[in-house]
Structure formats: C-alpha cells, structure tokens
Amino acid sequence: MVPLSWYLIFSAILFSIGLFGVLSRRNLVAILLGIELMLNSVNVNLAAFWRYGTVTNITGQVFAIIVFAVAAAEVSVGLALVISVYRKRNTVIADEIDMLKF
Amino acid sequence: MDFLKDPLKVAADWLLGIFAGWGMPELWANVLIGFLGIFILVALLMVLDIFLVWIERKVVSRFQSRIGPNRVGPFGLIQPFADIIKLLIKEDTTPEGADRVLYNLAPILSMMSVLILWAVVPLAPSILGVDLNIGVLYIIAAGAIGTLSIIMAGWSSNNKYSLIGAFREAAVMLSFEIPMLTVMLIPTIFTGSMGIGAITQAQDTWFVFLAPLAAVIFLIAAIAELGRSPFDMGEAESELISGYNIEYSGMKFGMFYAGELLHAFTFGGFWAILFFGGYRFFGLEQVSAFLAIAILFFKAFIGYWIIMWIKYTLLRIRIDHMLAFNWKFLTPVAFVLLMATAFMNALLADASNWLYIGGMFLSNVLVAWISLEVARSASRRERERVEGGKAVEAHQ
C-alpha cells in the first residue's frame, strides 16, 4: 500500500511548485495557474486524510468539494478582473499593474 | 446456455484458464484480460463507425430525395471502406506555424472522448465495462475532454476560422453541459443512484413516461454537445468554412469525422439508456446477452436516426440566439423541472405506482406548458421591441 507520507510529500511539492509560479511569473493568468496548482495540492491532502482516517467520516471529501466551489468562483472572478484590467491598461504583466503605490 | 446468458464471464473464465495454464500470475492475467476486452470493444466500435458513415450517407440522401452511395458493393456497402482508403492515402498536411504537438494530439483526444464513454455503457445485464456509481458525471467529464480536443485543434491550427470555430464550439459545449447535467439528475432521482447500470435496472417503467420533458431537453442538449446541425457552431460551413477542423486532412480529419458520428450514435444510446430503458424490452434481455445488446443498439439507432432527422431538417441557429436559448430558456426550465421532479418524488414517495407515474407525467407536462407560455410571451415582447408594433401584426 501507498503510505500516507507519499501523498503528503507529493502535495507539498505540488504546493511549492504552485507557490513558485505565483511568486515568479510575470503574467497574471500564469499566477492564477499557480494558484490552481496550490488549491489542487490542498485537495490531494484532504482526500488523502479522508482515505487514511476514518473512511466513513466524509468530511475530507466535503471540504474538497467546497474547495472546488471556491476555486471555480476564484477563477471566474480572477479572470474577469484580468480581462477588465487588460481592457483598461492593455497589459497583463503583474509588475506593470502597480498604480496602488506610494 | 451459460454462454448465451453471460458470454463475458464465460469467455473471461476460459481465457483465465488458458493464461493460468501458461503459468501467468492471476493478477497479470486479469489485467491482460481487461485490456483484451477494451481492445475488442474499441475494435468493434470502430467497425460500427465505418458503417455509421454509410448509414449517415444513405439516410441523408433519402432525406434529400437522392439514392446515396450505390456504386461500390451492394447498396454501396463497401463505400465507407473506399472513403477510408481515400483518407489514408491523402497527404497529411500540417500548417506552418501550427503547434505540432497539440495539433496532432487533438484528433486523438476527440476520438478518445467518445470511446471512453463506452466504458460505462451497460450493453447487457452482465456486460458492463465499469459500473461507476457516478456514471452520469462521467458522461459529462468525457464531454469535457471533447471540448478540450476542439480547443486544442482550433488553437493549434494557427487559423482564424478554426480558432473562432473552436471558441464557439467550446462556448456551446460548456453552456449546454449545464441543462444536460441537470436533466441527467432526473433519472438519478428516480433511481437513487448515478450509476448507469443501476439506472437501466430501475426502468421497470421507461423514464420517458415519467419525465418526457427531461428526455426532450436531454436530446436538445445532446445535439448541441455533439455540434450537429442545427447547433453546428464549430463547423458552420457557410461562415467558417469548416471551423475547428479546417486545417486537418487525411486520417486526422477522418478521426474527427468518425468521432463525431460515433459520438452521435453514442448519445443516441445514452438517450435510450437514460429514458428508454436501455437494453430492457419486456424481459427479452434476460433471454440472451446478445439479444440485450441488439435491443440496445436498436434503440440507439432510433435515437441516432432522430438526431440525423433533426440535423437534415433544421437550419443552423445563430450563435447568440443559441446561447440565449440555452441560458434564458433551457437551463431555467431544466432547473425548474429538476426541482419539480424532486418535489413530486418526495410528495409521491408512498403513492401507488400509477399515481406516481401520472403525477410525474403531469408535472412534466405542466412545466413544459408553463415554460412555453412564458417563452412565447417573452419572445412576443422582444419581437415588438425589435420590430415595432406593425411588423408584429404583419407576422400574424
């Protein structure tokens, strides 16, 4: 059987890759891609804890479902914002969208 | 007799015995048998696909008062093979600036999205690839892969028309997934399970009698999902030349084409499974597994024929009308129907069988009637707004 630690390590790596994407990509859409990876790693953890805890207690899956909903909402609003910004500023580079500064 | 009843198990046991004789571990043998089954199913489907081409061409020509293929073989039966040979020996072009990997991946995904659907199709009481308890969702998930293949094809071709076609197709498929999933939940309510096998087993009364409106909505959404006329936004020959598959040629185009036909047939099959009892026909399915498969295919062919009938009868609808139709009419109606069905199901939980069927049927008719009335008055107002009062009078 696959030990629980494998899943946890896997999701940790996935999370870090997503984090790297969020911190380092220039494109706003790419940042959102990174966020998706991070959310997915969380879901893997939730499902793994469900499977390796008490299986009849479905809480882990419920949380994963909620994360799906949140991810869908986040992406739709996030991409709408990106498109709106692109219309106004004609760029999707995160560093160029810095009107909120000193 | 066992072979007639349950051929799959007999064959599997037989093969297992042979493999065991070769000294193979049981686990590996099982895996191998599974792969063998998949291979056989896919191969049979591809053969079926070839004949679907012939059927389609024959039917369309009858619709159009022609005779159709009649030169190659009796009734033109060999014609599809000729077509295949033509496609195989054509030059396989790849446009300049295309994204090669995605360009070549797209037709495969397209075919795959259709073939994986057959994993959950219950061909006979005992012949069922995987009895997923979430089969309904699985159908939608496979549709998502189809969407993906179209986007891939449209984008990677490096052609405006194909990109526009892909966008349209993706928008349509994403939109029509919603009413489709919603009405697929109605058989789920009746059955209490999302498994396709369970849904078939539960249809002592065909669900079309319980939910005629749901069957109609499913058919409409399925046609849109298939991208067939009148909803063939992705191809739209007169506007986009050929849409997302414009740059494809040879066997790659052939895979799109075959995928589309098989997809249509498959959805005819799902229509039959979800609403017309699948392989069930007054106990005949218990006689022999082959009879059950025949019944299912017969029903699927009727569904396929209806889809063709619609395709060759109706004109293409404009994309904005079509999306508006989905979001402003089909989706709300599907939601209302789902709620009404759930409500009636709870209400009539302890009612007698006939009362249950009657109540469900009437609630469907009522929802249909109300939604049509609402749509009619809304469209009349819209027409008055757009065309002015006099134009409306002229229409009437």
Binding site: F10, V62, A64 | -
Partner: protein, 169 residues
C-alpha cells in the same frame, strides 16, 4: 514495491513534471495545457484514493470548465499569438528560494508528524462514498450550511465576473 505504489509513483512524477512545466514554460497556452495534464494527474491521484466522485468532479470542473476558461483568458489578453519577453519576473530567484523554503518546512513538518506512516484502512464493503457525500452535503446535521454558502458564493462570483468583465460601450 507493489503495483499500487508503482502506479502512484508514475502518476505522481508525471503530475509533478506537468506542474513544473506549468510554471516554467514560456508559452502560456502550453502552460494552460500543461495545467490540464497536471489536473488529470491529480484526478488520477483521487481515483487511486478511491475518491471517485472527486476524480470525476475534478475532470468536469477543472478540465471541463476552469482550464477552458484559462485558455479563453490567455487568448483574450494578447494581441498576437506569440509571447513577448521573459515570463519570469526579476525576483524569480528569490521566489524560487521561498518556494523551496516552504517545501523544506512542509517536509520537515510532515516528517515530524507521528501519523505519517499510517496505511489506509480497508475500504468498507457496504460503504457508498458518493451517497455518504451527498447525504453529508445536504444534511442539516452535517454540512448543509457550508454547502449553501458555497452556492451563494458561486452565484456571487457569477454575477461579479459578468459585471467586472462586461464591456460597457
């Protein structure tokens, strides 16, 4: 190594490679498609975990909707099809360091936790995870409130997205 482990390792490595390509590839469209591959991998992981509902929903929601949305967004936010300039910002090195630091911290925490060596309990034969999940989502004793809140959130996101992206001309 058992078959389970081999399958898991293959899937996990493929997923991680895909994920890595998501954050490093220069072509954003490719990044989106790599994301799809990574999400497929995660769906496979769910399937290995017997979370069949999650696996299918992962395909439907992430691949069927979210990824398509990403592709749309990528295409809508560019004037031509080619990508210009570097795709990583000036601080990417520091970002990589921080991500690595986070990974080290997480692995350290996982390592130090006693429950990490747990193996999966046998899957109860008569237990239907999908129906249990469905009941949990709509049972007042369980999670009907978060479920409804999530629904409201989705509606709000729908309206908000349309409002934000609406082109007023």
């Amino acid at each position: 190594m058992t078959i389970d482990q081999i399958i898991f390792l293959v899937v996990a490595v493929a997923t991680l490679i895909a994920a890595f390509r998501v954050v490093t590839t220069g072509n954003l469209i490719h990044a989106a498609f790599w994301l799809i591959a990574a999400l497929f991998g995660v769906a496979a992981i769910f399937a290995i975990l017997h979370a069949s509902f999650l696996a299918v929903v992962q395909v439907v929601v992430y691949i069927g909707a979210i990824s398509i949305l990403f592709i749309f967004a990528v295409m809508l936010t560019r004037k031509d099809m080619r990508d210009q300039g570097p795709q990583l910002n000036r601080n990417w090195g520091f970002g990589a360091f921080l991500a690595a630091l986070a990974l080290v911290g997480l692995v350290f925490l996982v390592h130090g936790w006693s429950g990490v060596t747990k193996t999966a309990p046998a899957f109860p034969s008569e237990f239907d995870a999908v129906s249990a999940l469905g009941n949990a989502l709509v049972s007042p004793d369980a999670y009907v409130l978060p479920f409804e809140v999530a629904s409201v959130l989705l509606v709000a996101a729908l309206v908000g997205a349309v409002y934000v992206a609406y082109n007023r001309k």
